[in-house]
């Protein structure tokens, strides 16, 4: 029960406290102290009527003590203006509950600050914004608890040492900072959507955490097109979660999925988010990816997919965010729209791309196109190569199976 209350209140609590005490580390400790107090008192005295306000009140008192102690220390050096400062402090503390939205946004921007490594950003965001425990984060990412704990400790230290200001960035800085936030959310989503390692192909809990963060962010920044773009992308991709895993845990590729199992609610939400992004201006990279995902979502059968439209969207994406992986995906769409030979030409041009050297999907895509062209033996080699390059057990099995199918086709032919 107290765990559930923590889940609901912790982000707002830590956000409000961070604004007062200045750094996330101290704010989280104060919030944790309040939680410990709750664990001690609530079982005996009963859960207060407004548990969030209780936690905030308790943490606030401790924050006041702390700020006063700090001020006392400082006053030894500078005596001037102390009463004024103290007045301002209490004023700020009173305002804690009123500026929750801005504080929460400030917390998200701080946790996703580019000064931190990607791993650190992911860990501290899930911890302070998502309200997850270190153990839960470790389980989600299949890494030891100590690794996550270390990442969080180091992240807090880095933020303090870099004197990262607790603020909602404005102006020229804002786009870069927002990009960093969106990157973190999408990283979390993707780790759940196609796990890079381990026994399971998807881990829906991580997708749900990412979606929740995205939905919260969309409420906080309703005029940011890329936030809606990312939410739309995640909603639509998540709509396929139940369909992209077979009965024994094996991955099922998009075009082979049973579309009746796609989650209509998430598709509808995703298309609505995409619509919001579109109304805010020309689509940017996340919005374009959402629009691409929407091409699949709108098609009742795989055959109805508007591949030509998708190629156009990929063209726009390549312009805005060129990357070998995007080029590869574009090649897939081209292969579907204009025939496997055209797709293969594009893929072949990517074979020597350093970033794709050990990317299993390059081989998988190439294998697929070769197979469609009847070049089964070459296709088999590519599928085997792809299998040797993936760390995910389920995906490896699928690729081996596809290689075996090529052998069967060759025997038949």
């Amino acid at each position: 029960m107290i765990e559930a209350i923590w889940r609901i209140e912790s982000a707002r609590l830590i956000a409000g406290l961070t604004r007062v005490v200045g750094d996330i580390g101290t704010a989280e400790e104060l919030a944790q102290d309040a939680l410990v107090a709750a664990l001690e008192q609530w079982p005996a005295q009963g859960v207060p009527e407004r548990p969030g306000a209780w936690l905030m009140g308790t943490a606030k008192h401790r924050a006041i003590d702390l700020v006063r102690r700090r001020k006392t220390l400082e006053r030894k050096h500078e005596e001037i203006g102390r009463d004024l400062e103290r007045d301002q402090d209490s004023l700020e503390l009173d305002a804690i509950e009123e500026e929750v939205g801005d504080d929460l946004l400030g917390l998200i921007f701080t946790a996703c600050h580019p000064v931190l490594s990607k791993d650190a950003r992911v860990a501290i965001t899930l911890r302070v914004v998502g309200g997850l425990t270190t153990e839960e984060i470790a389980r989600g990412f299949l890494v030891p608890v100590s690794t996550v704990a270390q990442r969080i400790v180091r992240a807090k230290r880095t933020l303090a040492e870099a004197h990262v200001r607790f603020e909602v960035p404005a102006g020229a800085d804002r786009d870069a900072r927002l990009a960093s936030v969106l990157e973190v959310i999408y990283l979390i989503f993707n780790e759940g959507y196609s796990a890079t390692a381990g026994e399971y192909w998807v881990r829906p809990a991580l997708c749900e955490e990412a979606l929740r963060l995205g939905r919260i962010l969309a409420e906080l920044t309703p005029t940011e097109p890329e936030v809606h773009g990312l939410v739309g992308l995640m909603e639509i991709q998540a709509s396929r979660l139940g369909a992209r895993v077979g009965p024994s845990g094996e991955p099922i590729l998009l075009l082979d999925q049973d579309r009746a199992r796609w989650d209509r609610l998430l598709i509808r939400r995703g298309l609505a988010a995409l619509g919001r992004a579109e109304r805010l201006g020309a689509l940017r990279p996340y919005g374009l990816q959402a629009a691409i995902a929407a091409c699949h979502a709108r098609a009742t059968t795989a055959e109805e997919t508007d591949w030509a439209r998708m190629v156009g969207l990929y063209d726009a994406l390549v312009q805005l965010a060129p990357s070998p992986v995007v080029e590869l995906n574009r090649a897939v769409a081209v292969g579907m729209a204009f025939g496997p030979a055209s797709g293969l030409d594009l893929v072949d041009a990517l074979v020597n791309e350093p970033a794709l050297k050990s990317y299993h999907l390059l081989s998988a895509v190439r294998g697929d196109l070769l197979r469609k062209l009847g070049r089964s033996e070459e296709a088999r080699v590519e599928f085997e190569r792809a299998a040797s390059l993936t760390e995910n057990v389920r995906e490896r099995d699928l690729l081996h199976r596809r290689a075996a199918e090529c052998v069967a086709e060759r025997m038949a032919g």
């Binding site: 559930a4 889940r7 998807v202 829906p204 963060l213 939905r215 919260i216 139940g242 845990g249």
Partner: protein
Amino acid sequence: MRVLILAKEGNQSEAATPPTPDAMAEYQKFNEELVKAGVVLEAGRLHPSSQGKRVRFDGKKRTVIDGPFAETKELVAGYWLWQVRSVDEALEWLKRAPYDGGTFEIREVVEYEGM
């Protein structure tokens, strides 16, 4: 996980009169808080059961029953679909709802079969 919240508002479920503006404002404020927390996937209110129909199945036979339905206390007046991490979390949210009557039921939705 997803949970479905069934609002069994007792007599209010059957009232053709909408809730008072004050009650609506309170509800909207609460709903907004839930949306901002990324909890609400969907929400809706239902017309009174007098406009509802039931189909009873008995082997190959189908019987259509017109509303209103008798068991007022069990009638659903509205629903929410929430995304939460536990039933406890849903319970915590629900307890904060600004209602002063009725019964609200939390039911977990079966998801990701075979995983």
